[in-house]
């Protein structure tokens, strides 16, 4: 039997009689070392034993697309701040009437409205238009008092974080010609997300449609102007989560109507059909029973160029989750207005899902490739940022028949929540401006606004 273990040299021989024999002692020691050493060796090497098993590869929901055939060049409007930006709104508009579009930015981290004004030589100058506006969500350019100077109406959330108290405000920054003088138009109201102008009652002055997002409670209002910029509020709809309230003649009857997206625990788009005198009939245009769809905005645009105003509904806001993640139903819907084709039964909209970009937060429409039709640009707040290569900025190329092909522009600037596009230089191709809202990690320092131009793009009148 023993001969079966020739590799154990110190094994004592069978005829070892005496315990005091040095050979016998060595043999015992050998046995002891062997019997204790083997387990000890196993313990010592235990953590070095490599794993040879397998697990399924983690599958990301992140979305990415082919690189844009049109190269886009980013221009950071200022250096990234030491802390990540909380930009809530960017827009391209001629604020100061010099014939050149400027970039107006709402900055919720520093509670201010900033403008980057385009200069004649294609440069940009920064100016702060207003400060101490708690969490401004949207700045609307409008000559509210019709004195010939463009004012700003700023929707103030009051708190960027969920808050159900009446902390919001609507502030009119009255352009005096030398400065913007703040006038509170609406107080004792929950978080205000948007205000859009229009003469709803046909009396010649500018009224306002207001989206009060709130949190658990909110509402959609229209504010009736008495001609002296004193406003009476009228509730159109009681619901939390109103984000945007674009104004247009959606039914083609000659007066201005209001559309609004209601998110939070609803996922609905409503139209408010104006009779021309400020009496509105609500019409449900879109609804999803998936309360996690994450509607994030509503943009009016005649996407198919048929003469009626369509709507773009970006969906991908799951801010209720501390660590939001792209979902298979995120993306962008085109709500095609059938007002022209469906006459005499207006207010029928057909929804088309035109993108599956995870975490889609904002959309804008414009001719990005100069082919004469309207393309769409989208930004994502919640793609899968833990893995590189997922899109934060994409554009959807329209083939002229509203079939869209996605192209990826950017992956590094994450958490983009706001986008606008317009042709800044008259080359027939729209430039794009974006802004990030870094509420959630991963935090990457990025500028409050970035202008994206195509190869030919130089800012000029």
């Amino acid at each position: 039997m023993i001969s079966h273990f020739p590799a154990v040299p110190s094994l004592p021989s069978p005829d070892t009689p005496s315990a005091s024999d040095p050979g016998s002692q060595r043999g015992r020691l050998g046995w002891l070392l062997l019997l204790l050493g083997l387990p000890l060796l196993l313990v010592l090497l235990w953590n070095r034993i490599p794993p040879r098993g397998t697990l399924p590869e983690p599958v990301s929901n992140g979305t990415s697309y082919p690189a844009s055939p049109i190269p886009w060049t980013p221009r950071e409007m200022e250096s990234p701040a030491a802390v990540p930006s909380w930009t809530t709104h960017v827009q391209l508009a001629d604020r100061n009437g010099d014939g050149r579009r400027d970039i107006i930015v709402c900055d919720a981290r520093f509670n201010q409205v900033v403008s980057y004004d385009q200069t004649a030589d294609g440069g940009w100058t920064r100016s702060v238009l207003a400060t101490e506006i708690p969490a401004p969500a949207h700045a609307t350019l409008v000559d509210l008092d019709q004195d010939g100077r463009l004012d700003l109406v700023v929707s103030s959330l009051g708190n960027i974080w969920p808050d159900d108290l009446r902390v919001g405000k609507l502030i009119w920054l009255r352009n005096t010609g030398e400065a913007y003088e703040p006038v509170e138009l609406l107080t004792d109201v929950r978080r205000v997300a948007d205000a859009q102008p229009g003469d709803f009652d046909g009396d010649g002055d500018i009224d306002l449609a207001v989206a009060v997002f709130g949190y658990a409670r909110g509402e959609i209002l229209w504010l009736e102007n008495d001609g002296q910029q004193a406003f009476t509020s009228h509730q159109l709809f009681p619901a939390a989560g109103a984000i945007h309230g674009p104004v247009a003649d959606f039914d083609g009857d000659g007066d201005l109507d209001i559309a609004a997206v209601v998110s939070q625990d609803r996922e609905q788009v409503w139209g408010f059909d104006n009779d021309g005198k400020g009496t509105f009939t609500p019409r449900l245009l879109f609804e999803s029973l998936n309360y996690d769809l994450g509607s994030a905005g509503l943009v009016k645009t005649d996407l198919d160029g048929d003469g009626d105003m369509d709507l773009l509904l970006p969906a991908g806001d799951n801010l209720e989750d501390s660590h939001s993640y792209p979902q298979p139903y995120h993306g962008c819907f085109w709500l095609e207005n059938n007002a022209v084709s469906a006459k005499p039964t207006p207010w029928t909209f057909t929804s088309h899902r035109i993108s599956n970009l995870g975490g889609t937060y904002a959309a804008s429409a414009g001719d990005l490739d100069g082919d004469g039709d309207k393309d769409v640009v989208l930004v994502s707040m919640f793609n899968d940022w833990d893995r590189p290569g997922h899109a934060s900025l994409v554009w959807l190329e329209n083939d002229g028949k509203q079939t869209f092909r996605p192209w990826q522009v950017e992956t590094d600037q994450t958490h983009l929540v706001t986008v606008d596009c317009a042709d800044l230089n008259g080359d027939g191709r729209a430039e794009v401006v974006t802004g990030p809202l870094h509420l959630h990690p991963p935090f990457r320092n990025s500028p409050p606004a970035t202008l994206w131009t195509t190869a030919s793009g130089k800012a000029a009148p």
Binding site: R52, L55, G158, V167, A216, R217, L289, Y291
Partner: protein
């Protein structure tokens, strides 16, 4: 060594080799632990996650579960799913693990798999989990736009309040308004004055075209509390996060505070501020300043503000705290500056009250009167919201007297009357609000609602 001992030793050796070999082979067969990029986490949290990854290499079910839960809570969902699936495979009868796996699948939007996993948990031995499972299944069915399946699932989850809330809502939105309203009435009994219940009640009344009932529910929602919110699904993930790293350190600071050791809390917090990236410090700064307030440590507070103010906007609450500390420290000028800045951004009765006192210092009777009227107004609204109607009425009456142009004190007196079912008193109050300012749209809306009450079922 005796001849008898030798075979024993040899036997022992054989057993050792056999057991050792088995252990090595088993160990070799374990899968590698999926690792995540922890750079987006605060350093302390990242270290805690790395520690969990290391523990999971032991291949113990509990270690995989803990890691999977942490991944889920910190948003590493694809890795979390793989890890939790491994934990389930190692401990198939553990329903708690399977539940978390289902939650992860749900958050990934893998709805069919999530539903199947929740169903497996529901069919298990722990009947206590069943309502939660059916509630989650109902939510998944809604996300899949399957309202009838969602309704069936929510019905199985009854009498869970959360399921009843979801059921009421989906019934309303699928045109079964009367059925939905029955559940709302039931919820009003179990969850009195809940904001979420009352807002769905507003929706139901609107669908029924009952303006008056809508107004009553709106008013109730105004005074509502968010109990339903506390039951929502993301709360469990908050709990998991609080175990690790930064959140655990903050919990320790809170524990120091609870033990009335404010100075120690401030010292711990100082470390938290120093060891975490600047991105997370703005939210933390206000928390830290609250600690310095409790410790009456103006010097540390000032140092922190001086350090962070160039980079961060100081929140209204932080300004309030600093103002109070400056007041306590005797610097009334600085107190006035901080408090006025706080009040401008977010009015509060305590701040208005302090500013009124400071205005006495300054000898400005006009400013003092303004702040005093603000105190009455804000305290009146606060008292109304917590249902102290008598106190609210007193404050609002005084606010109305001091602010003759302002319609809102009278509007809220109307709300108090509406809450108490005193319709005629309410009408008068809304009328007074409109008399003060015909632009008070909310009062007009309420008067219309009251005028329609004869046709209401309220």
């Amino acid at each position: 060594m005796s001849a008898r001992a030798r075979p024993l030793l040899i036997g022992l050796l054989v057993v050792e080799l056999a057991v050792g070999g088995y252990l090595v082979v088993t160990r070799l067969g374990r899968p590698p632990v999926p690792q995540v990029d922890v750079r987006r986490l605060p350093p302390a949290t990242a270290a805690a996650i790395r520690q969990l990854e290391s523990q999971a290499d032991s291949d113990r079910p509990a270690a995989w579960r803990e890691l999977g839960e942490a991944y889920l809570a910190y948003g590493y969902l694809p890795e979390g799913e793989v890890v939790l699936a491994r934990a389930v495979a190692l401990d198939e009868t553990n329903e708690a693990v399977r539940w978390m796996h289902a939650r992860c699948l749900e958050r990934l939007g893998r709805l069919d798999e999530a539903i199947a996993e929740f169903e497996r948990v529901a069919s298990g031995s722990d009947a206590g989990r069943d309502p939660d499972c059916w509630q989650r299944i109902g939510k998944c069915q809604l996300r899949a736009e399957q309202p009838e399946k969602a309704i069936a699932a929510f019905e199985k989850a009854l009498p869970s309040s959360l399921a009843e809330f979801e059921l009421a809502r989906v019934l309303l939105r699928t045109g079964r308004v009367d059925e939905g309203m029955k559940h709302i009435e039931q919820l009003r009994r179990t969850q009195p004055l809940d904001i979420f219940v009352e807002t769905v009640a507003v929706e139901g009344a609107r669908l029924q075209g009952d303006l008056f009932r809508m107004a009553v529910a709106e008013e109730r929602a105004e005074r509502g509390t968010g109990e339903m919110e506390q039951q929502r699904e993301w709360k469990d993930l908050e709990l998991i996060r609080s175990r690790y790293g930064l959140m655990a350190e903050l919990a320790e600071c809170s524990a120091e505070l609870e033990a009335r050791r404010a100075a120690q809390a401030v010292a711990r917090f100082e470390t938290v501020l120093q060891t975490n990236p600047p991105e997370v410090t703005e939210v933390l700064l206000t928390n830290g300043l609250q600690m310095t307030y409790l410790a009456q440590d103006l010097s540390t507070a000032s140092r922190w503000v001086a350090s962070f103010e160039p980079r961060l906007a100081i929140s209204p609450l932080a300004r309030h705290i600093l103002g109070e500390m400056e007041w306590n420290g005797g610097s009334r000028q600085r107190a006035r500056e901080w408090l006025a800045a706080s009040q401008k951004m977010q009015p509060k009765s305590e701040v208005a009250s302090r500013l009124a006192e400071l205005s006495e210092d300054k000898g400005s009777a006009e400013r003092r009167a303004e702040y005093r009227s603000e105190v009455f107004w804000l305290e009146g609204v606060d008292a109304y919201r917590i249902g102290s109607f008598e106190a609210a009425e007193g404050h609002l009456q005084e606010a109305a007297r001091r602010r003759p142009q302002d319609p809102l004190p009278e509007f809220y007196r109307g709300e108090i009357a509406l809450a108490q079912g005193e319709w005629s008193t309410a009408e008068k109050a809304y009328g007074r609000a409109i008399a003060r300012n015909p632009h008070c749209g909310r009062a007009h809306d309420r008067l219309r609602a009251l005028a329609s009450r004869s046709g209401s079922s309220e």
